[in-house]
Every structure is written in structure tokens, then in C-alpha cells.
């Protein structure tokens, strides 16, 4: 094993190996960070989507993309009644409330949506709420009245009545400077949505969250279900690395041991292994995986199992066999037999270590191929049903025609991470190849 360590020590002399190693270490570090900060259960919960994400915009692009483009598109603004200067006027059998929700808006674009979330803690009779929109230039618009249930979403953006009155979709119309002709312009300044409410129970309470949805969000943006893509991009790292590593280790180790056993025992053992390999090589992997995924399960563990099972009797067996055949005849093996080493010891301690240095580069470059395989399966819609992965993000992007709609970030960020992973392992693998293979020639 010492030459192995010696070789690994020489990595320092190859800048590309160091870059590759740095990328891999960064990915591993991020993966650990992710798993610690967003535990598995929470990640699944988040990725299931739904109400958790109701205050996130739909298809917002990453904030930094906008920053680079210099567009100053709006971020999401949430104004809560908890921070508002509420005025209360009790009367017998109820009270009168005035909740002003104020915010400053000075962006180079209109919001993507406008929603008001009302909560009411009444026992029997719903309160009544009237909404008034006040623009920075002092115009007031009556947005109508509501009798909110305990939890109510007031979709201002989808108020057709209002849209007809404004002549534009509400989240544009409400923020536009007055003037009918030409494209609408954003009117900067302080906006206010005033809620005038009457409750018919003395201790009833009303809460309100006004959400002015932005067009940019965080580092990764959001998808069509308002989910923050960061969750999937981050969780994709441990999933991809684990899948790639387990698959690569699983196939390499079993393939190696089987090839060595075939070479060592020869005869029918070898013949059976060779025939199995030949049959397996012509079986197409992807269609089988698609079949398993469609008919049985798309669980990542099932896929991993099938990938390893199909990978065992792979072309690698032929390669390892060719490398091991001359080793089987080498005098040091004969010497080991002459002092009584058993079959298992000869296979594991004398034959396999001999070709291990050559396999390390292959092994390292094998990892990303499994990462890509997992992503391809997800892209084909055969991703794990619950796990957030890069492939799933790309699959969503594809079904939602992300590129057609110009949501490049949706496709590019998982793709970039995949490429980064491939690059890291490839750079390390190729450098290792250069380290270990010239040595092999002199061995």
C-alpha cells in the first residue's frame, strides 16, 4: 500500500489535481453543511411544496443574476400586521380596527404577484374587512370588502374586477404611474394597504400579511411551485455524491473481486463469469432502469441497487481479467502458494493490490458517470419520488418549458453543478492517471 500513498503524495505536483481536489472538497463540505443545516426529513418536507412556500414568488430568478444585469428587479416584500400601528375602537359586542400595511417600493420593475393573507380568530361570526390601496401620489383605490374565514387568501392579483377597473393586471396597475398610453412605469415611493375591519366578537383578532412578490429570489431563484431551488441544489450535492460514490465503490469492488476470482480459479468459474459478462454487456442499462423505474419503483435505493447489479458484470471484468491474467502466473504468487497462502489471501492480498494503482484513476473518473446517470434518470422523470436532486430540478424545468420562458437559471444552475462535479473528479482522475500509470510501466 505504500506506493499508493507515495503516489497520492505526489498529487501536490499537479495543479489540475489540486483544483479537482479543491472542487471535490468544497462539494463534500457543502454536502455536510447541507445535511446538518437542513436535516433529511425537513428537506423532504420542504421539497413536497405547498403552503410552506406561499410567501415565495413563482419562477423568480436568482438575485445575483439581476444584480449583474443591473435591472434592480423587486425582491419580495412582506408587510405583517404585527409590525403595523393598529388602531382599535372597541364597542359593545365587537370592535373596529384600522390596520395600515405600509411599505416602500422603489424597484426597476413591477412585482410578480400581490396577495393578502388574513387570519381571523373569531368564534362564530366572521369579521368584515374593507381594503383600501393608497399610492405614493395620494390616490386611493377601493379594493372591496371581505368576510374572511379563519384563514383566507386574498388574491389581489387575480381580482378580475379590479383588473378591469385598472385596465392592467392588478400587481402592475396598482404600482403604475398614472397615464394611459405606452408601457406602464413604476411609481416609486411609499404604498399603503389599509384594512378597515369590524369584528363582531369582543376578543376576536385579525392578522394580515401583505405579500408583494418579487421577481428575484435568493441565490438560486424559485420554481413554478414557489420552492426555493437552493433546497434542491444543496441537497442534490449529498445525494449525487453518495449515489456516485456508492455506485462506483459497489461496482468496482465487486467487479474486481469477481474478476480476480475468475482468473484465479479459472475453469468453469471463469467461463461462467465471462459468459455472464458478455450477456450483461449487450444488455442496455438505461432501458432496464427505465423499466424498473416505470414498473417497480423509482426509489433512489432501488435504482442504486439495479445500477450496481448491472455494473458488476460489466466490461470492467474483461479489463481487469486482462490485467490479472499475467499476474496470476507471476512468480510471487507461486511463492505465496509455496508458503501456504490460501485462495482468498492470494486473490485479495496478492492479485488485487497489484492492479489497484491503475484502478484508482478509473475509479475516480467513474464516480461522476454515476452522478450523471442518476441525473439522467431524474431528467427522464424517474428520479426518486421524494428526494430533491439536480435531475429533478432539470426535469421540472423541462416540463415547465423553462428555456422557452427564459428561465435559464432553472436549467443552468443544476447543470453547472453537475458539470462542476464532473470537472472536479475528472481533473483529479486524469492527474492520478498520470501519477500512477508511468509507474505501472516500470513495475
Amino acid at each position: 500500500m505504500r506506493p499508493l500513498l507515495e503516489g497520492l503524495r505526489r498529487i501536490g505536483r499537479y495543479p489540475s489535481a489540486l483544483v479537482g481536489l479543491a472542487i471535490i472538497l468544497a462539494l463534500v463540505g457543502t454536502a455536510v453543511f447541507t445535511v446538518v443545516t437542513i436535516p433529511y426529513g425537513q428537506a423532504l418536507e420542504l421539497w413536497r411544496g405547498g403552503e410552506t412556500w406561499r410567501m415565495h414568488p413563482v419562477n423568480a430568478r436568482p438575485a445575483w443574476v439581476d444584480r449583474i444585469a443591473g435591472n434592480n428587479l423587486p425582491q419580495t416584500i412582506i408587510v405583517s400586521s404585527d409590525d403595523a400601528p393598529i388602531t382599535e375602537e372597541p364597542f359593545v359586542g365587537g370592535k373596529r380596527l384600522r390596520i395600515p400595511l405600509e411599505f416602500d417600493f422603489d424597484y426597476g420593475g413591477f412585482p410578480s404577484e400581490l396577495n393578502l393573507f388574513l387570519t381571523s380568530s373569531h368564534a362564530e361570526r366572521e369579521p368584515f374587512v374593507r381594503l383600501t390601496w393608497e399610492t405614493p401620489d395620494g390616490r386611493q383605490l377601493n379594493l372591496g370588502g371581505r368576510r374572511p374565514a379563519r384563514e383566507e387568501r386574498v388574491s389581489i392579483s387575480q381580482d378580475w374586477e379590479l383588473e378591469r377597473r385598472l385596465g392592467r393586471v392588478p400587481h402592475v396597475g396598482l404600482f403604475a404611474a398614472p397615464g394611459d398610453d405606452g408601457p406602464p412605469e413604476v411609481l416609486d415611493g411609499r404604498y399603503r394597504l389599509v384594512l378597515d375591519a369590524i369584528t363582531f366578537e369582543e376578543d376576536a383578532r385579525i392578522g394580515a400579511d401583505l405579500v408583494v412578490y418579487g421577481r428575484v429570489h435568493g441565490l438560486a431563484g424559485t420554481d413554478h411551485q414557489r420552492r426555493d431551488l437552493m433546497v434542491a441544489l444543496l441537497w442534490g450535492i449529498p445525494v449525487a455524491l453518495a449515489f456516485g460514490l456508492i455506485a462506483a465503490v459497489g461496482t468496482t469492488v465487486t467487479t474486481l473481486v469477481i474478476a480476480a476470482a475468475g482468473v484465479w480459479y479459472g475453469g468453469w468459474v471463469d467461463a461462467v463469469i465471462q459468459r455472464l459478462t458478455e450477456v450483461n454487456i449487450i444488455l442496455p442499462m438505461l432501458p432496464i432502469l427505465v423499466m424498473v423505474g416505470t414498473l417497480y419503483s423509482t426509489s433512489i435505493w432501488v435504482m442504486l441497487g439495479v445500477v450496481i447489479a448491472l455494473g458488476i458484470f460489466s466490461a470492467g471484468i474483461k479489463m481487469y481479467r486482462a490485467m490479472l491474467l499475467p499476474i496470476r502466473e507471476s512468480p510471487y504468487i507461486e511463492a505465496a502458494r509455496a508458503y501456504g497462502a490460501g485462495n482468498a489471501r492470494i486473490i485479495l492480498r496478492y492479485m488485487i493490490p497489484r492492479i489497484l494503482p491503475v484502478l484508482i484513476p478509473t475509479f475516480v473518473t467513474l464516480i461522476p458517470t454515476f452522478v450523471f446517470l442518476e441525473a439522467s434518470l431524474a431528467l427522464l422523470g424517474l428520479g426518486d419520488p421524494v428526494l430533491p436532486t439536480w435531475g429533478k430540478v432539470m426535469n421540472d424545468a423541462q416540463t415547465q418549458s423553462a428555456l422557452y420562458h427564459g428561465f435559464y437559471y432553472w436549467v443552468l444552475s443544476p447543470a453547472a453543478l453537475l458539470m462542476l462535479t464532473g470537472l472536479g473528479f475528472a481533473m483529479l482522475g486524469f492527474a492520478l492517471d498520470r501519477i500512477f500509470n508511468p509507474r505501472l510501466r516500470t513495475m
Binding site: L4, P331, E334, Y339, R354
Partner: protein, 336 residues
């Protein structure tokens, strides 16, 4: 000069290792199953090796010397006959006893670099046989590894323990191979052309080393060689092999001075020995090719190349062993 060894040989304990009618045939198959014949690499070999003696097996390339060595080590299953170690046939041993037998026999191969796993350091190489034979205590293994290195004059041992084979010279590599053969404290060492791949300058050194270790520990040494000229100094007895058989055996000086079998005579003549005693023997190299081991000639295997062939006998009947001089056996009809 080699009196102590002779004493031991004469002891009543009986032979250390014997071959009885030993045959090792390699089956030749076509398309994996059709038998088309056998290579008779070892074809009826008999001998006894006494404790503490050094014997040499000589013969031309392909006559089955290595096959014989491997059969003695149990690396090939004999087709017929048996190898007997300290009175017990190997075929009768169970697997634990067979393993114990392997600890009693050391093996030194021809190519020292090939004989050492390139990915192990000398320490590991020397520990391996001990691990295989259940020496669990690391300190004890280390101790024995150091002793073995001192034994083969690789000192200070600590310097060599952490070296890898490719960092050693050919001679040093062969010393490590010998140390590995010694580390299980064998009674017998089988060395298959131990110096033929080494630089001429270190050959004698290695042979002397083997010889002195053999004497010191009273080991039995069986070495295979091509080189008749050095045999005199390193062996007490010589076995001459031809086409899978032993055709002549005697004490070293007896055999070299009075070769009886025409094949031995030809062999000796072929090496231009400056010794005037040998110079008067026939000079011709054995004419013709070594015989096919697949279809050995009828009668004496040497008869197609023999210049003293007796027609009607040598080409018909297999010669038994004759004893033309005391203690000097040869399988040749000339001495009927």
C-alpha cells in the same frame, strides 16, 4: 571439508524427502475439452534426499527440472507416484498438515524481482509467511524478519525492512527471497536456478550464502542449475535429468570425473572446463534436438541423439538403473 553434513546424511533418521516413481504430466487439450496428449514433464523420478545434504539437479532446458521442483512443493499434483516427506506421503496429508509441510520447505525462485510482490515492502514480504502460518504477535514477526535479514547478510536489517523490491539490486532481491524462504525455519530448501538471472558478479556470492546457511542449520538443499562448472563447490550429489527422468546420479567428484551416461558426458564436454581431467572426454555437443515430452522416443529417451546407441536394445527397451561404479547409478544399457 563437508564432514558434518556427511555425518548427518548418514544418520539413521531416514531421508528427509523422497520421490517415488514420481510423474507429473500436463494434459494438453484442444478446444478446452479434447485430450490430445500429455506433456510428460516429470516421468518416473526416484530419489532420496538426506538431512543436511546439498544436491544439484542438472539438465538441459525443458527437461522438467522446474516441474519437478513444483511437484515437490505440492504446486503441481503428481499424476502418479508420490512425494514423501519425513516418511509421510504428501498425498495422505490433510490440509493443515499440508500447510505445515509448506512451512518446512523453503522455495527460492529464479527471477528474484518477479518473486517479490512489487507493492509490498521487505517487512511485509517477510511478515507474510508468518501471518499465513499464524504468528499473530507483530513484535515476534518483526524480530524474526530482522533475524532472517541478518541471516542473508542484509544488515543493518532496519535499513532494508522498509524498502520496496524495486529499490534493491538483483543480488539484494535474491537475498530477500532467501530470507523469506528461511523465515519459517524450514528443513529443506528448494532453489530453482537461484542465480541464473543474476549478474555474474554476484552469482558465486549467493551460492556461497545458500551453502553456508545450509551448513549452519543442517538444512537439506536441493538446487536446480544449468551450470555444471559451479556445481562442484556447492553440492555433494548431482542428479542429471533428461526428458523428465533422472539418468545419472553420484557424488559430485565421482560424477564429474567419471561420467557414465553418454548424455552426461556430452553435457560435460559442452562446457569448456579448463580442468585437464575433463578435457580428455568426448567433445561433441549432443547432436539433435531435445526429445518431445509429448511423444518421448521408445526405449532410452536419449537414443536418437546417442553416439553409442546399441541397436535393438536402446531403441526398444527402457533402461533400468545400473551401478557401474560404487554409489554411481545410471540408466544406460552400456552398463548392463
Amino acid at each position: 571439508m563437508n564432514a558434518p553434513a556427511r555425518d548427518m546424511r548418514g544418520s539413521a533418521a531416514g531421508p528427509v524427502l523422497s520421490a517415488r516413481d514420481l510423474h507429473t504430466w500436463f494434459e494438453l487439450r484442444q478446444w478446452g475439452f479434447l485430450r490430445v496428449g500429455s506433456v510428460r514433464a516429470v516421468d518416473g523420478v526416484n530419489f532420496d534426499l538426506q538431512a543436511g545434504e546439498s544436491v544439484a539437479f542438472v539438465g538441459e532446458s525443458g527437461c522438467g527440472k522446474s516441474s519437478l521442483a513444483r511437484t515437490l512443493l505440492g504446486l503441481h499434483q503428481p499424476t502418479r507416484g508420490e512425494v514423501v516427506f519425513e516418511g509421510r506421503p504428501l498425498g495422505m496429508l490433510n490440509s493443515a498438515e499440508r500447510k505445515a509441510y509448506l512451512a518446512r520447505v523453503g522455495f527460492v525462485q529464479q527471477d528474484p524481482y518477479g518473486a517479490l510482490p512489487p507493492f509490498m515492502d521487505v517487512r511485509r514480504i517477510l511478515h507474510e509467511p508468518l501471518i499465513v502460518h499464524g504468528v499473530r504477535n507483530r513484535a515476534e514477526r518483526e524480530q524474526r524478519a530482522q533475524e532472517a535479514l541478518e541471516e542473508v547478510r542484509l544488515s543493518p536489517a532496519a535499513d532494508f525492512l522498509s524498502k520496496f523490491p524495486h529499490m534493491l539490486s538483483g543480488g539484494q532481491q535474491q537475498r530477500v527471497v532467501i530470507a523469506r524462504a528461511l523465515i519459517l525455519r524450514p528443513k529443506l530448501i528448494i532453489a530453482d536456478e537461484p542465480v541464473s538471472m543474476l549478474d555474474a558478479s554476484v552469482r558465486v556470492e549467493i551460492l556461497q550464502l545458500l551453502r553456508s546457511i545450509q551448513r549452519e542449520h543442517g538444512l537439506t538443499l536441493a538446487f536446480i542449475t544449468h551450470d555444471l562448472s559451479t556445481v562442484r563447490h556447492f553440492a555433494e550429489r548431482i542428479f542429471v535429468m533428461y526428458a523428465g527422468r533422472i539418468v545419472e546420479q553420484a557424488e559430485v567428484n565421482e560424477l564429474l570425473n567419471h561420467p557414465q551416461h553418454p548424455y552426461t558426458q556430452a553435457l560435460l564436454a559442452a562446457i569448456s572446463d579448463p580442468d585437464p581431467d575433463n578435457a580428455r572426454h568426448q567433445r561433441e555437443v549432443p547432436p539433435g534436438e531435445p526429445p518431445s515430452l509429448l511423444k518421448p522416443p521408445d526405449g532410452c529417451r536419449f537414443h536418437p541423439r546417442c553416439n553409442r546407441m546399441i541397436a535393438g536394445t536402446c531403441d526398444r527397451q527402457d533402461p533400468p538403473d545400473f551401478e557401474p561404479r560404487t554409489g554411481h547409478m545410471t540408466a544406460c544399457w552400456l552398463y548392463r
